[in-house]
């Protein structure tokens, strides 16, 4: 295998690992963020309903 072939094989392997790591981190952390975002938007919407301007 030439230098370029080895480089691209390693790059492909690294890319799969990084892709998977990002997915796991985002899936776990994102669930909590969704809860917070919806709470904030609900609060904002109810404030606007109370004080229409």
């Amino acid at each position: 295998m030439s230098g370029w072939q080895t480089l691209w094989t390693c790059a492909l392997g690294v890319s799969v690992v990084l892709f998977f790591v990002v997915e796991v981190v985002v899936v776990v952390g994102g669930a909590g963020d969704i809860k917070d975002m919806l709470a904030s938007l609900r609060e904002h919407a109810s404030e606007d309903a109370k004080n229409p301007s």
Partner: protein, 505 residues
Amino acid sequence: MNFIWIDWVTVITFLVLTTGVALATRRLISDYDSFLLAGRTLKLYLAMATMGATELGLVTLMYFSQQGYKSGFAAFSIGVIALIGFMFVGRTGFIIKGLRDLEVRTIAEFFGRRYNRSTQVIAAIITFAAGLMNMGLFLVLGAKFLLYMVGFPPDMLPYLMVGLLLLVLGYTVVGGMVSVVLTDYAQFVILFTSVVFTTYFAITHVGYDTVIDTVQREYGAGGFDPFISDDLGWLFIIWLIFGIPFAGMWPPALSRALSTVDSDTSKKLYSFVGLSFLGRALMPMMWGICALTYFAGVDAIPLPMQDGAPDTAAAMPAYLSQILPAGVRGLMVAAALAAMMSTFDSYLLCWSSILVNDIVLPLRPEMTDREKIRLTRLAVVACGIFVLSWGYLYKPPETFFRFMAITGTMYSASVLLTTAAGLYWKKANTVGTLTSLVVAGTLPLTTIFLGDSDILPLEYRWMVEDKVVGIATFISSLVCMVVASLLTQKSHPPKVLAPREGVTT
């Protein structure tokens, strides 16, 4: 037809769930900020999900796989350069930190504050034009993928394009950014999982050693070394390197950075999600390379043809339709639909917001939130119809990725380069910015409209090659910005932003 019942059940379940979210979140839209920026409440992980899903579209899978098919492993250099760009932006906060601190909704809004209203409108028009042209191929590529994966007859292509457009328009118009963000999260999960699975199936079906041998036989050393590749080459790599400081700043991605809770979150967003951008490029490229290997073999089905030549964009979906097991094929199509919807909806919303915020609003500042939301929804529909028409009429030169790259340069070298100057160079003034915007906003049009025509004599064709025009656009934009600003400092003194307005004092 390649689909069986389990594939259809997977796809239909996914569609019902995602469109249901758009309807459920409608009552949370109370004003323009909550429609367009989800109320600026995006925290890091959700911002990563929505940016990851937005930037990994079906069109991305298609143009990267086509590039892999045409350039072999040498195409991987594109992914490596993208990774370097994201790491640079994430580490330094280049542009994104300044814009987030200013709390602007769109990048053109910055031009209104730093320069004047007409500069804002011109920047917005260039961004809008480049963006719409860039998005023009989304529908046709998306429909082509479905056509070959599901196994529809070729004359179904226009109907698929219309169907996909109606699907995306429906829930973007109803829900705005909140539904886009929520569906992006679900789409991120299904999309990222399917991409990894599909890469496994694509490689194991033909065998990695066979892939290497095929690329060596078809493309020689240029199939691995991007500098000697027939399709890429030195100039192409230099062109991409010019774009490194502006990585991931295409307006829909930038809107995610502007939707985060603060500028530190924006920087972390680019650093973390940038890690996935290597795989975003390399894995679909690998599918294209595996498709090349498959169609070079003796047991393959015939490669689809278009206008008498092999349709290289269709190679990947045609290959996957033959090798993915039932069920996984349905999951992949659901993921592809997720990819298309998450990208398409964000892009539609983004270009429409630019039209409303930066072109219409400066002329009609008295508009209410309700009127702005209504106009944005109308603009979403109008942009969708344009994309449908462009997909029918325009035939891009060379590969789809290269068309994306030249429309990206039209935006980066004009709007982003002048934004950077406005943020970090005190002498940047309106004349320099306008000159740079106009030059960099028009030069790439020579490639887009003349690149494949016979108007120019053969000996001058090199002048409209995308890589030549791309490099020339970056250099001439920078020169125009610096020279015109310095020559007009007295007649047009640079505007000074107060510290609370921005970083320039």
